[in-house]
């Protein structure tokens, strides 16, 4: 397995939406390297014919009756929002300005 570079950590931080500082990037680069080298040992036993297990209880298509129930109280929900306008969540600009 490859070792992880500072640039890669910066790219991961961007993907994960973490505005890491320069010091944090260095710190995590070395720590992630150590952890990844330790966990990479699993490849010693993972042959091609072993099925992957995503979940302990195999279930598919779990349905329930389609019964109408009350939704969450709007005032309760909006009272916890960082910003609200006209009974809606208010968010920062999503599109770049022209």
């Amino acid at each position: 397995m490859t070792s992880i570079s500072r640039d890669e950590v910066a790219h991961l931080a961007h993907l994960a939406r973490l505005d890491l500082g320069a010091e944090e990037l260095d710190h995590y680069a070395s720590q992630l390297d150590v952890i990844l080298q330790a966990v990479a040992r699993i490849s010693e036993v993972t042959a091609d014919d072993i099925p992957a297990m995503s979940h302990p209880v195999p279930m598919t298509n779990v349905f329930r009756e389609d019964v109408v129930t009350a939704s969450l109280n709007r005032a309760d929900v909006l009272s916890m929002a960082p910003a609200v306008e006209d009974d809606r969540f208010k968010v920062p600009r999503i599109l770049d300005e022209e």
Binding site: R41, A52, R64
Partner: protein, 498 residues
């Protein structure tokens, strides 16, 4: 009742409340006073819900006065891990990003506790988003182990375990993703059970790794743990992974506590080197007690367990990085940098940078890496194969034995700060508890004595197949009764006074 109400078991308190020997309000008051007296040094709680606790206790007293039927734990106080949503009460998961958040709904666990007339005293401290083995990763400062305040109470559910050991509550709820109920129980001399995956609803539990997470009961005795287990388990349509099956009769098993003829497997790979001397000693003593009680001890091999830690630290961060994407500062929780000029993505990045602590960021990045294009098959895909191998090891073992045992943790409680700067050393605490979560089976930790070298509690882990949770209580109940015979009391009675 004239004795100290905070020293009683949940079963004794419930019986006294039902018999009107003491009121639920008196019991709640005694525990709130105990918390006020000792939590300054223990820091088991992040939030005390005095008003709602006293209101619930009053309702219970009114029900009993009116002759209304109440549950077997009616009026008994409980400490709730802060990872479970409780309507109108602060719920932070130990994170800065959820500071001040009050959920607009109850988790199913909380709804069942309320329905069982249990009195929730408050929310307990934990490693941020349940990532850790020491509570040192809480954004609100660590919890201290009541056995030695300079030591960790385990994690992530260290607050719940410490609340029990400090006699702040006789019952607590934890959640266990890789050992977060069992390891804190081991290092605090208390009992904790990770039920079979899907036995207790995850609805309203702030998700860490959805295929591993499982809420469960914690208490100071096996019977109290069973009573709480029965109160919270059962099918829930709000959790699509909830088991639609009858809950095993864990209370009857805890009361029967008979292991004559039981085949107990010793996992060779979890009982060799790497354990503190006193942990090994107490573990082997417990094995001979189990044998004296009529069980047969059989050594079994689980050859792939040595790869469990590696698989876990790929699967967990992968699922966590995905689950924690919801904390984006838009609908609830912290929002930082919204100055009108920053874009939504900049605000998200600034919010998450400020709101998450170092261990959470580390695991988010690890998971993002393991799931990223080009590495997915090499890491996450391979880890899922190891999961199959671990499950096969368990299936092969359970073909010949009824339960498996191991020490719960390699050492007794370590010093606060000792492993904080070495993530890998911290991860090694979970080596014996992780296989259970990967396979989705159930396990208990219960105290088996103090390590002679440091006078700190040692835990024994009992593991049983999926949906055979009652076997944990049969074996745990029998061992606990034998140890109480020997000591004259539960181990927790030896905890130093605070």
């Amino acid at each position: 009742m004239t004795e100290d109400l905070t020293r009683q078991s949940a079963a004794v308190l419930a019986a006294a409340i039902a018999a009107k020997e003491v009121s639920a309000q008196e019991v709640a008051t005694a525990h709130l006073e105990r918390i006020a007296a000792v939590d300054g040094v223990v820091h088991a709680f992040l939030h005390i819900s005095s008003d709602s606790a006293m209101a619930q206790a009053k309702r219970v007293d009114e029900k009993i006065a009116a002759g209304t039927e109440v549950g077997p734990l009616a009026g008994v106080p409980l400490a709730l891990k802060d990872v479970l949503a409780m309507h109108g009460e602060p719920t932070t998961a130990g994170s800065r990003i959820l500071q001040g958040w009050k959920p607009p709904y109850d988790s199913t666990v909380v709804a069942r506790l309320r329905a069982a007339d249990i009195v929730i005293l408050g929310k307990t401290n934990m490693d941020e988003f349940a990532m850790g083995s020491s509570t040192e990763h809480s954004a609100y400062g660590p919890t201290h182990n009541p056995w030695d305040l300079t030591r960790i109470p385990g994690g992530s559910g260290g607050g719940s375990a410490a609340a029990l050991a400090a006699f702040e509550a006789p019952l607590a709820i934890g959640t266990d993703t890789g050992g977060s109920i069992r390891q804190p129980a081991a290092v605090t001399g208390t009992v904790g059970v990770k039920p079979t995956y899907g036995a207790v609803s995850r609805y309203g539990q702030i998700a860490l790794a959805s295929s591993l997470d499982q809420p469960g009961p914690c208490a100071r005795s096996v019977l109290d743990t069973a009573l709480l287990h029965a109160a919270i388990a059962g099918h829930d349509p709000m959790d699509s992974t909830s088991l639609n099956a009858a809950v095993p009769d864990v209370v009857a098993a805890a009361r029967r506590a008979d292991i004559r003829g039981m085949r107990i497997g010793v996992v060779k790979e979890l009982s060799g080197d790497g354990y503190q001397a006193g942990v090994s000693q107490r573990y082997h003593e417990a094995l001979s007690i189990l044998e004296d009680l009529g069980a047969t001890i059989i050594e079994v091999s689980c050859p792939h367990f040595e790869y469990a830690l590696g698989a876990y630290y790929l699967i967990l961060p992968s699922e966590a990085s995905s689950n924690l994407a919801r904390f984006d500062g838009m609908r609830y929780g912290l929002r930082t940098g919204d100055d009108g000029a920053n874009s939504v993505e900049q605000v998200m990045s600034l919010t998450r940078e400020q709101g998450f602590g170092p261990e959470v960021k580390r695991r988010i990045m690890l998971g993002t890496y393991a799931l990223s294009s080009g590495y997915y098959e090499a890491y996450y895909g391979q880890a899922q194969k190891v999961r199959t191998l671990i499950t096969s090891d368990f299936n092969a073992a359970f073909a010949n034995v009824d339960v498996l045992v191991s020490p719960t943790a390699p050492t007794t409680a370590f010093k606060l700060g000792e492993k904080l700067d070495d993530p890998l050393a911290m991860y090694l605490n979970d080596v014996a508890t992780i296989p259970v979560n990967l396979a989705g089976i159930c396990a208990m930790s219960l105290p088996v004595g103090l390590a002679p070298e440091d006078q700190l509690p040692v835990g024994l882990q009992i593991m049983a197949p999926a949906m055979a949770d009652e076997r944990l209580y049969l074996a745990g109940g029998a061992l606990e009764a034998a140890l109480v015979d020997r000591w004259g009391h539960l181990l927790i009675e030896e905890v130093p006074s605070l």
